[in-house]
């Protein structure tokens, strides 16, 4: 099992912010696979999972964005009712706290993954090893 | 140490004599100057002349909070407005507030009783008193202020709130006496620690805590965290503000300043007088107030009178710490319970913090109580199994004390709302419809 990476960008709640970021990625031919926005009064954090995360990180940084690269775990969900619940139930029973989550549907393989950021990725991966779960590998999204 | 030994230690006989004389004056004044009282006396078929001894006080009808609201704003004033120099108000929750008017002489009496309180807590003019009760219409800040001013202490009028600044001031100026609500004191200890200041290293030697109910266990906690002597202070706007009663160094009940106030205990349901030592509702009569004399005011506070002589040498009888309010007795499944009982259980059990909230719901027909208690940091990072055990232990202890089973939820440290004034302990979510 391997960790995947997601890119977080700080953004003020102002029109055009998302557009600016996605423009940079699209111009560099970087593919956005999953994304989420958490926002609060005044500002927010936009998170992306992309195919070329290192490149995306360096590029955004270069362009002056406030950006970080964070570890995450991608867990496969069964394509049936309750699929998400199954995964979340396991995480919570293990006391793993989800900090952020998004969903990635791998078109070619018809699979869906829950992408989660947790407090301690290494520890979480260790705990989840014994469970009957399938994980997303970085190779899968390149 | 006494502020006014002559009065505080006067002989019992002389004290009763003084009380009677002052009571007669007060009753006469109220009857003559306040139509509300005159009507009440007339209805009850009595005149001031009927008050021949202290027992006769019982002939006078009670005054309730509702009565005071009815005559808002000036109806209870016995002095013309030119003679009233200050106005305060109760932090009334609903409807019209209760207004208290003070003449210069009333302010003087207030300063006198508060000086006695602070002296009981060890204050001398060398002390630095930080007043962290709110100032303004609320009586807390001003009461302590006037007493400290009378003694000649250095006053730091910090008012409530801005906790970090409060702690910096304590540290920089060497505050020796802290006055605030007990829940705010505990909160300050917590914030001090966050700031990297060990509360017990501050120069605090004592504190006067009141304006909300608290327990003996909370006293132990405050004393331990700050390394000070914590004293219980009691008072209410309708009577004068803080300064009606205060603990001496024996810390066994609060001395009522009986040369200024008469305390009685009654059954809150029937209104009958109860004997000394029995718990019931406290009823107070002022003996020296000019601006707003108050006859047999029903405080709604539950306590009992301790008549036995105190080792401190004061003649004044004591009341035990306030045990509850007649209006926040929670009646759940027919059982009476008070927040302090729950608090007692919480403070006995290791691993939780004295921050809690009682939530009452009625999902269908039965009342349910959920007590939310903060875990200590250590507990929080402990194993789930231990947390489960702790929860069970608390549930058992509360059941032992109050007699009914409640649900305990342990919550993360610092997740319950903190207050800078009175803590909100009970959240009653029961809908009134049947």
């Amino acid at each position: 099992m391997d960790k995947v990476f997601i890119i977080s960008v700080f953004a003020e709640n102002k029109p055009g912010r998302l557009e600016r970021i996605t423009k940079v990625l699209s111009e560099a031919n970087i593919n956005i696979l999953a994304f989420s926005i958490t926002s609060t009064n005044g500002f927010g954090v936009i998170k992306f999972m992309v195919n070329k995360w290192k490149e995306a990180y360096n590029l955004l940084k270069e362009k002056g964005f406030t950006v970080s690269m964070n570890e995450a775990i991608g867990i496969e969900m069964k394509d049936q009712p309750g699929g998400l619940y199954e995964v979340v139930k396991i995480l919570s029973s293990k006391g793993i706290n989800i900090e952020s989550a998004s969903v990635y549907v791998a078109e070619t393989r018809k699979r869906a993954y829950l992408i989660v950021e947790v407090d301690d990725t290494v520890k979480a991966m260790d705990v989840l090893k014994g469970e009957n779960l399938k994980f997303l590998h970085p190779e899968d999204i390149k | 140490m006494y502020w006014n030994k002559e009065y505080e230690c006067m002989s019992e006989e002389k004290l009763r004599e003084l009380q009677l004389q002052r009571l007669q004056t007060t009753v006469k004044r109220a009857y003559e100057k306040i139509p509300y009282y005159r009507n009440k006396f007339n209805e009850a078929g009595i005149t001031p002349e009927d008050i021949k001894n202290l027992e006769d006080l019982k002939k006078i009808p009670y005054t309730s909070k509702a009565d005071l609201r009815e005559v808002y704003p000036f109806g209870m004033f016995a002095s013309p407005i030119e003679d009233i120099v200050e106005i305060h108000m109760s932090s009334g929750t609903t409807g019209k507030p209760v207004v208290a008017g003070y003449t210069l002489n009333d302010i003087e009496v207030w300063a006198e009783v508060m000086a006695r309180c602070l002296t009981m807590a060890g204050a001398t003019k060398k002390d630095i008193v930080q007043v962290a009760y709110g100032y303004g219409l609320f009586t807390g800040g001003f009461g302590v202020h006037y007493g400290a001013r009378k003694i000649g202490c250095m006053i730091v009028p910090a008012s409530a709130g801005n906790t970090r600044r409060q702690i910096e001031i304590m540290r920089d100026f060497g505050t020796t006496i802290l006055t605030c609500t007990p829940s705010y004191a505990l909160y300050m200890a917590e914030v001090a620690q966050e700031m990297g200041i060990e509360p017990s290293n501050l120069k605090l030697k004592s504190g006067c805590f009141g304006a909300e109910m608290w327990t003996e266990a909370m006293r132990v906690e405050i004393e331990k965290r700050f390394g000070l002597n914590a004293y219980n202070i009691y008072g209410l706007t309708e009577i004068i503000g803080p300064g009606v009663a205060h603990e001496c160094h024996e810390k066994k009940g609060l001395h009522v300043f009986e040369d200024h106030f008469i305390a009685e205990i009654i059954d809150p349901e029937t209104g009958d007088s109860l004997p000394d030592g029995k718990r019931g509702e406290l009823v107070l009569t002022t003996l020296t107030r000019e601006g707003m004399p108050m006859l047999r005011f029903r405080t709604r506070d539950i306590t009992s009178i301790i008549k036995e002589k105190c080792l401190c040498g004061r003649t004044f009888s004591r009341i035990e710490r306030i045990r509850g309010r007649t209006d926040d007795m929670i009646k759940v499944r027919g059982v009476m319970l008070f927040p302090y009982q729950i608090e007692k259980a919480i403070l006995e059990v290791q691993g939780v913090e004295p921050h809690y909230q009682i939530v009452i719901t009625r999902p269908q027909y039965l009342d349910e109580i959920e007590v939310m208690v903060e875990m200590s940091k250590e507990t929080f990072s402990d194993e789930i199994k231990h947390i489960e055990n702790l929860k069970k232990k608390l549930e058992r202890r509360i059941e032992e004390i109050v007699g009914i089973r409640v649900k305990v939820s342990l919550v993360e440290p610092k997740s319950l709302p903190r207050s800078e004034g009175k803590a909100k302990r009970i959240i009653d979510k029961r809908s009134l419809k049947e």
């Binding site: - | 200050e86 250095m154 006053i155 801005n162 906790t163 970090r164």
Partner: protein, 431 residues
């Protein structure tokens, strides 16, 4: 015309100067003997108390600046033993610590006496009802007024600021005749009163209001007077000098009388420190002439004003100053509280995760917005951390300045970077 202390208030000019000189000499001698910091300062300037023979000789003495108030903190400039001090008040400073000002019993009584003069000067008397809508607490404003009014025999309603509905209820129910309030809040309360359809001239008993703690213009005064049908009097003071009551307007509302038996005033050029000609604008410098606990010599108020040398029609011989025209430093006022940008800066520097660049935006007298750029290097993608950081900034600024700010977290590089002295305060308010 009523007087609280007619003899002192109308003392012949020559006698007043004589009294000032006497008190000045006494004060100088006292600080020289009791306050080590002053002795050192005098010695450095090569002056001895005996060199003060005329009022003009005060120019020989060094100024006291707010920095001097931090020397030997907290009791540094106190001229009495600590057990004689009965009150501590504080005022904003440029460092993390507030300026501590101490009072003895006599000082407190004296400050009340001065306010009694001020109130009576505007026609207030026993039977009046004062609604004190200033903040009670570590600032002096509310207390000094409270004590002064009590001295005159005026009923005080210690309302404190805020809770406008209740303020209006109090005015109606108790028949408030006078207000002590900041100009910005007065404007707001007045507009709410009118919005509610209350006719202040008929439904309220308001006669006058004392406005202070913030600069405001003659137009604002006229506007509020018009709205409420009352007289408004300008009130000047600073915690370092007892609080309100240093200068106060009489019925003629043409400048503020400085109580010269208590304060010696000079107006100087803030750059050179030289006195300006009478009538010219400069920085007000005050020396206490009647203070026990903490006498201050040539204290630089940083307030800009000018002396009005002409005698006043009211008959008081104490000279007047114009309303405060500005500041000679970068202090600004929000909610009646003095704030220095340095206070904000210090807070921001103590917080991990924010960058150096910041800006303070002022749109009104009751709110300040602090814009902060976050630190790129410390961004870790976690929104919880940013929320916490924002709360920490709000909390710490509130604790440092007593005013709760609005905080905006910005992307780095958003704020203009200025060469040299960055413009930190954008004040869009009009006086």
């Amino acid at each position: 015309m009523e007087f609280w202390n007619k003899e002192l208030e109308t003392l012949k000019s020559q006698k007043l100067r004589q009294l000032q000189l006497e008190r000045l000499k006494k004060t100088i001698l006292r600080v020289y003997q009791k306050v080590p910091h002053y002795r050192v300062k005098f010695q450095e300037a090569k002056v001895k108390p005996t060199d003060i023979k005329h009022l003009e000789d005060i120019h020989k003495l060094p100024f006291t600046t707010k920095e001097d108030l931090y020397v030997d903190y907290p009791f540094g400039l106190v001229a009495l033993p600590v057990e004689k001090l009965i009150r501590l008040h504080t005022s904003s400073g440029t460092t993390g610590k507030p300026k501590a000002i101490f009072f003895s019993k006599k000082d407190i009584n004296n400050s009340a006496d001065i306010i009694a003069r001020c109130l009576v000067m505007t026609g207030a008397k026993r039977g009046d009802i004062l609604q004190n809508s200033m903040t009670y607490g570590l600032f002096t404003g509310a207390f000094v007024m409270h004590y002064g009014a009590e001295k005159v025999g005026i009923l005080v309603i210690p309302a404190g600021p805020g809770n406008t509905e209740r303020q209006i209820t109090l005015m109606r129910d108790f028949g408030t005749t006078m207000l002590h309030i900041t100009p910005s809040y007065a404007l707001y309360v007045a507009s709410v009163i009118l919005d509610k359809g209350i006719d202040p001239r008929k439904d309220l008993k308001l006669k006058r209001a004392y406005l202070g703690a913030e600069p405001y213009s003659e137009e604002t005064r006229k506007k509020i007077e018009e709205m409420l049908g009352i007289d408004i009097y300008n009130c000047y003071g600073l915690t370092e000098m007892n609080g309100p009551g240093v200068g106060f307007e009489c019925k003629y509302k043409a400048g503020l009388h400085i109580w010269e038996d208590n304060f010696l005033m000079e107006v100087i050029n803030p750059e050179s420190g030289e006195p300006v000609k009478d009538g010219e604008i400069g920085e007000l410098v005050l020396t206490t002439l009647n203070r026990e606990a903490m006498p201050l010599i040539r204290y630089r108020t940083r307030d800009l004003t000018r002396i009005i040398p002409e005698p006043c029609k009211c008959g008081r011989t104490h000279r007047r100053i114009s309303r405060i025209l500005g500041r000679s430093d970068d202090m600004f006022i929000v909610k009646g509280v003095n704030i220095f940008p340095q206070q904000i800066e210090q807070v921001l520097m103590s917080i991990k995760g924010v960058a150096q660049n910041y800006q303070i935006i002022l749109e009104s007298y009751d709110e300040m917005t602090v814009k902060v750029e976050i630190d790129k290097e410390l961004f870790d993608g976690k929104i919880e951390r940013l929320i916490k950081m924002k709360e920490e900034i709000i909390d710490k600024i509130r604790s440092a300045t007593m005013v709760k700010p609005k905080v905006e977290l910005l992307e780095p590089g958003t704020l203009p970077i200025s060469e040299g002295k960055a413009k930190r305060v954008i004040d869009n308010r009009t006086i």
